[in-house]
């Protein structure tokens, strides 16, 4: 086992931090437009979680040889044990067969609400009409836990409250767990009592001031703030040579 890498890029750190949230033997899914989690899942499978099974729109437990900036791509079914599709993925989730899911959004607030619908005060005439959350409002109730990935940790992306709740962070009917928020600057989770976002670790080279300046609300801070475990040398080598030699993760940021 090689030690920590000294030379890595922000996308590689984020992919590695997301991979570390997964455990061997789990069944994991990702959303659309999600190349960072797609690569993180394959990295986890190539390192600490060889029995991890990815379920997505194209296939189950596939071995893709290449990628495009879409999750509806034939190569995502290469070497799969079964082809999959939109309905199948949701049906497995309804049945409770998906342990973990990766989602993202344009905004995530202090209580973990995610907005993928519209920016602005008037939903009917928004400043920016976004894509919509695809399956988020359903899947957030039916998967075991949720990991949010956010490539740009900025004030307007982490506001006190979102303009529109596409995916509710906490709700009495919601049995699953908001597990982690992984950004390009830090890793966060949610305090169980209040449901409020809490800092877990800051990425190497990032300061606590930088994080507070780029967050639109007061994060709960632990007494001592650890540094996010950097990618190992093995992870970086695998990423660059075997898991993602094409470098799609860079475009996914």
């Amino acid at each position: 086992m090689m030690g920590p890498a000294t030379d890595f890029t922000p996308d590689e750190l984020m992919v590695s931090a997301l991979a570390h949230t997964l455990r061997d033997g789990e069944r994991v899914m990702h959303g659309v437009a999600s190349m960072i989690p797609v690569i993180a899942i394959q990295l986890a499978r190539a390192t600490h979680a060889p029995g991890l099974i990815c379920v997505n729109l194209e296939g189950i437990d596939a071995r893709p040889s290449r990628y495009a900036l879409t999750t509806e791509y034939f190569a995502l079914a290469e070497g799969a044990t079964k082809t999959s599709n939109l309905l199948r993925l949701f049906e497995y989730a309804q049945r409770g067969l998906i342990d973990a899911a990766f989602f993202s959004g344009a905004q995530i607030d202090r209580l973990g609400n995610v907005n993928t619908s519209a920016i602005g005060e008037d939903y009917e005439r928004p400043k920016v009409r976004l894509t919509g959350g695809a399956g988020q409002a359903i899947l957030c109730h039916t998967v075991g836990r949720i990991i949010i990935w956010l490539p740009r940790h900025e004030r307007n992306r982490l506001p006190e409250s979102v303009d529109f709740i596409t995916l509710p962070g906490h709700h009495p009917n919601v049995k699953r767990r908001m597990d982690r928020v992984v950004t390009n600057l830090a890793v966060m989770d949610f305090e169980p009592q209040s449901g409020a976002m809490r800092l877990v670790s800051i990425h190497p080279g990032v300061t606590i001031e930088e994080i507070q300046d780029n967050t639109g609300f007061d994060l709960i801070l632990p007494d001592t703030i650890p540094t996010t475990k950097p990618p190992t040398g093995e992870e970086i080598t695998l990423l660059r040579t075997r898991v993602d030699p094409q470098g799609i993760r860079k475009q996914g940021m």
Partner: protein, 285 residues
């Protein structure tokens, strides 16, 4: 019964005001040749029901064919937002009835099964519920579920891999496509290839839906372009980028439509405009 039609005859079966469901998703099995013909024929006031879609919805909206979209995700994934869709909603010229994927597909499933509604898990706590009074919470044996009403398209537009002249259609890896064909009143199909009936009978395990669901079927090789067809050809990434660039302004998009739709009045002429044999063949998988 012979269901064979030309592309133009097939598109004529779409009427102004129809409720359209569309096959495929972002970049695979999208009935783009059929959609371009619908645009050429100047159809108006269409309502669209999709789950996660991109170019099919965006081009119809940009061409002024659409009054309302029901959907859960309209965009181009990692390539960007849907330019015409976004502009139309922001300017208030298009109604977007936003929901979530499984709520929409379950509404279609209910229609496919002849049911008034289906129960699903989810949606609680989402602001989407503020916009859907028709979704009703219901408690069964202590478990709270959501009842979503049937969604009934009048027309399904489908692009498949192959079919015979009776409209028995084979599509690779199609969950959604099967449901919309079962849910719709009329099913209009294009395929990469029309094959003899014996070929379908030799491979019935590949048939996605039977001919009695099909209203008309037309042959349109590379008919999903610039989307791809699983097992045959990849989507055309360069063309998608060109589309998105053109879509940045209404004028730019008008030029795109002129070049690829109005001034290319047949599918063959479209393929020529899109780069011809050499470019199209380079997409083969």
């Amino acid at each position: 019964m012979d269901k064979l039609a030309t592309l133009s005859q097939a598109a004529e079966l779409v009427r102004d005001g129809d409720v359209l469901a569309i096959s495929g998703s972002f970049f695979e099995s999208v009935p783009m040749a059929l959609i371009r013909e619908v645009i050429r024929q100047g159809k108006r006031d269409l309502k669209i029901i999709v789950s996660a879609h991109g170019i099919a919805v965006d081009i119809l909206v940009g061409a002024g064919c659409v009054r309302e979209v029901s959907g859960a995700y309209i965009g181009f994934e990692g390539y960007g937002l849907a330019p015409n869709f976004r502009r139309a909603v922001e300017q208030g010229t298009l109604e977007f009835n936003e929901s979530a994927c499984f709520a929409i597909s379950s509404g279609l499933r209910a229609a496919a099964w002849g049911l008034p509604f289906l129960p699903i898990k989810g949606l609680f706590g989402s602001d989407l519920l503020l916009r859907h009074a028709e979704y009703k919470p219901y408690t069964w044996d202590g478990e709270e579920v959501m009842l979503v009403p049937a969604l009934k398209p009048t027309v399904a537009l489908v692009h498949g891999r192959r079919a015979d002249s009776a409209g028995n259609v084979q599509i690779a890896g199609a969950g959604w496509d099967e449901v919309i064909a079962e849910a719709a009143d009329r099913v209009i199909v294009t395929v990469e290839e029309i094959v003899p009936e014996e070929e379908i009978r030799r491979t019935p395990e590949r048939t996605t839906f039977p001919g009695f669901l099909t209203t008309a079927v037309a042959e349109a090789p590379y008919g999903a372009h610039p989307a791809g067809s699983p097992g045959l050809y990849d989507f055309d990434e360069a063309h998608v980028l060109e589309y998105l660039e053109a879509g940045k302004t209404s004028d730019g998009f008008r030029s795109y439509l002129n070049r690829y739709v109005y001034e290319a009045p047949t599918h063959d002429q479209y393929l020529e405009a899109a780069g011809g044999v050499k470019r199209i063949f380079a997409l083969r998988i």
